[in-house]
């Protein structure tokens, strides 16, 4: 059954937190927990979502939740899952919400270990494309060209010179039972993927784009729009990996203009036409492969 506004859990599980207005990450956490429900045990590493949600005595999770060490989302999830199972508890979800830095950089080893073991956990990476909690520094998932506080856009270097690490395919390369990409801009697709993940045994990885107005330099009411545009212009894609196969969920056919997506954001303001060309070329190369090889 498709998830709709009608059948969505009315309870709030991430409520009263201190995230900035328009925070995409908090929307991802809130929506995913509505899908997973009260029998969730959530693990959040150091990062914006734990920083805004766990300020004693103002604790914001309606379900069981804990902060993990920055590198320890997946390993703590493993322990939580094993422990709850040993207590004879059934039908629960051990779910992690880690940022892009917590996932693609410092936590990648633990994540790889958990996928390798096949631990029965759901790992959700909310990707706001930088270390936001420490004030917008470059992570392994910061896109090419983006200005961050550690990749300043100056005369000599125009922001980040490296493309995003491909976490989705890195997870898939472990032959994980289920991996998916999503965006909070297409929230139903995201929630359905969370729902699907919750019904699959073994390790599940969902990578959801979650814009951060503060770090991206966009208005607080532009989060959802940016999270849609990134898919519509082809710089992100909605896909799944299951039973050893990649599947593209949504091929926009004609892309909207990436320059428009980029130019609205403070972090890309400095990009030249040549820079945008580089971005478009790399997009086209990726999509050529997707269209050729994925279902």
């Amino acid at each position: 059954m498709a998830i709709t506004a009608k059948n969505l859990d009315k309870n709030e599980y991430f409520y009263g937190h201190k995230a900035c207005a328009g925070c995409g990450g908090s929307l991802a956490v809130r929506a995913a927990l509505k899908v997973l429900g009260e029998k969730s045990a959530a693990v959040l590493p150091a990062g914006c979502m734990s920083a805004v949600g766990f300020n004693f005595p103002q604790l914001c999770f309606g379900n069981n939740a804990i902060i993990s060490m920055f590198a320890g989302t997946a390993s703590m999830l493993t322990g939580v899952e094993a422990g709850l199972r040993r207590r004879g508890i059934k039908d629960f979800h051990a779910v992690g919400f880690a940022g892009d830095g917590g996932t693609a950089d410092i936590g990648i080893q633990a994540l790889s270990g958990a996928i390798d073991r096949g631990d029965d956990i759901i790992y959700i990476c909310y990707d706001n494309e930088a270390y936001m909690n420490t004030g917008i520094q470059k992570s392994g998932l910061t896109p090419f060209g983006a200005r961050t506080t550690t990749t300043p856009a100056g005369k000599n270097i125009r922001g980040n010179i490296r493309p995003k690490k491909n976490m989705f395919e890195i997870a898939a390369a472990h032959d994980i039972p289920y991996a998916a990409t999503a965006t909070i801009g297409y929230i139903n697709d995201f929630m359905e993927k969370v729902d699907k993940a919750s019904r699959i045994k073994g390790t599940k990885y969902i990578h959801v784009i979650a814009p951060c107005p503060t770090g991206w330099g966009i208005p607080v009411d532009a989060t959802v729009e940016a999270a849609r545009e990134i898919v519509d212009c082809g710089l992100w894609y909605l896909a799944e990996y299951e039973n050893g196969e990649f599947k593209i969920n949504r091929d926009p056919g004609e892309f909207t203009d990436p320059a428009e997506y980029l130019k609205k954001q403070g972090r890309f303001k400095h990009l030249t036409d040549e820079d945008v060309d580089v971005i478009i070329k790399s997009r086209d190369k990726k999509w050529e492969k997707i269209r050729r090889e994925w279902k």
């Binding site: 322990g79 422990g83 040993r86």
Partner: protein
């Protein structure tokens, strides 16, 4: 039942009796035997635990903390580089009041690389909020594997517990060890029960942030738990003695200190040789004694002050140095004396680093030098300037 076991094997036997629900560990010499034995026990069905093949020590402890937060008994084991690699998790487990039990095989820390025993690994992490015990023989190692859970998981304590075994000298040396009866261990050690865990009836947020106003209170509570641990250790040892007939002596173990003029204070296996030499010196008319610190945390301040009060001099023998000062054991012992107003001269003898043998002659030399007055810190038998 008696068996001829190494320290590592004896510890694994103790863990089989304590039966943690979740074991997460990563191999490192000289701890490896423990994880191998536990894996075999899980395989042959004699130990009903989840053995989790973590990809690092950081994950080993992170996983144990997660399982503890889920409400079950946990175990991990490591040594040296591995202990340092999981260091971030030590105050984390302690601050979250998760009573994880860990065996640490004391080993030198790189550089230079060295797999042999010294105590610089665990002593470097003394301030991370873990109870630290140092076993002196394989029997004590086994008994501590069981007793550590009783103490750590006690409601008044709820604090993680590190049992230290001297690398090789204890981990790999064989002794006859008595293995307690499983049923009686069950009587001694009840199943783990806690409220400090997830609960689907009343969901909990645990392991949170606490700002300047409240952080201080949480830290004070951690400190208080160590004060209560002193009583719980006594109670554990009394009950253990009743059930298994073996006596332990709390935070410290004293040998001929009552009337001693000269006392060596040390940790772990080195105490055995010190006792032999104290006997020898007694026969020669020198009143020698030995105080073995069993627990570095909580620290035996009172026992030390009492034992050294009437001594003419005392010396710490330790496999540790805090560069730029003295060894960590010395600094702690000196503070105990200062608090109690005991002015017995105290010297520090550093030996056994990187597994260097501590010889009979070394220990005689300590007793002799402390009578005459020695430099504050002596690197024993160093042979270079």
């Amino acid at each position: 039942m008696k068996r001829f076991l190494s320290g590592d094997e004896a510890f694994a036997e103790g863990i089989r009796l304590a039966c943690p629900d979740v074991i997460s560990a990563y191999p490192i010499t000289p701890q490896t035997v423990v994880v191998e034995r536990l894996s075999e026990m899980v395989e042959d069905g004699s130990l009903d635990s989840e053995f989790i093949h973590v990809e690092s020590e950081h994950s080993a402890l992170s996983c144990a903390i997660g399982a503890s937060a889920a409400g079950v008994r946990t175990f991990t084991a490591t040594s040296s580089q591995g202990l340092l690699y999981m260091a971030e998790g030590l105050p984390y487990a302690a601050g979250g009041r998760f009573p994880v039990v860990m065996m640490n095989a004391n080993r030198a820390t790189a550089l230079p690389w060295n797999i042999y025993g010294d105590q610089r690994d665990s002593l470097a992490l003394l301030d991370t909020g873990w109870i630290q015990e140092y076993a002196a023989d394989a029997q004590e190692a086994l008994d501590m594997a069981v007793m550590s859970y009783y103490i750590a998981e006690h409601r008044d304590v709820s604090t993680p517990f590190m049992v230290n075994l001297d690398g090789f000298v204890l981990t790999h040396t064989y002794e006859n060890v008595d293995i307690p009866d499983r049923e009686r261990v069950r009587e001694f050690l009840p199943p783990y029960e806690t409220e400090n865990c997830f609960d689907f009836e009343h969901p909990k947020n645990i392991g949170f942030s606490a700002g300047p106003e409240t952080n201080f209170i949480f830290k004070y509570k951690e400190h208080r738990a160590f004060e209560r641990a002193i009583h719980v250790i006594k109670e554990a040892e009394r009950r253990f003695g009743e059930l298994f007939g073996r006596k332990y002596t709390g935070l410290a173990e004293e040998y001929l200190t009552e009337d001693a003029d000269y006392v060596i204070i040390t940790l772990g296996t080195a105490a055995g040789l010190c006792r032999t030499i104290a006997d020898e010196l007694r026969r020669e008319g020198v009143k020698a004694g030995v105080l073995r610190i069993r627990y570095m945390r909580p620290f035996p301040n009172e026992e030390i002050a009492r034992a050294l009060k009437n001594a003419k001099a005392a010396a710490v023998l330790e496999k540790d140095i805090s560069f730029g000062n003295a060894g960590t054991v010395y600094v702690n012992v000196a503070a105990a004396l200062q608090w109690a107003g005991v002015s017995t001269p105290l010297y520090d003898f550093v030996g056994g680093l990187g597994g260097k043998d501590i010889t009979h002659a070394d220990i005689r030399n300590i007793y002799e030098s402390m009578g005459k007055g020695a430099p504050r810190v002596t690197f024993m038998g160093i042979g270079v300037e």
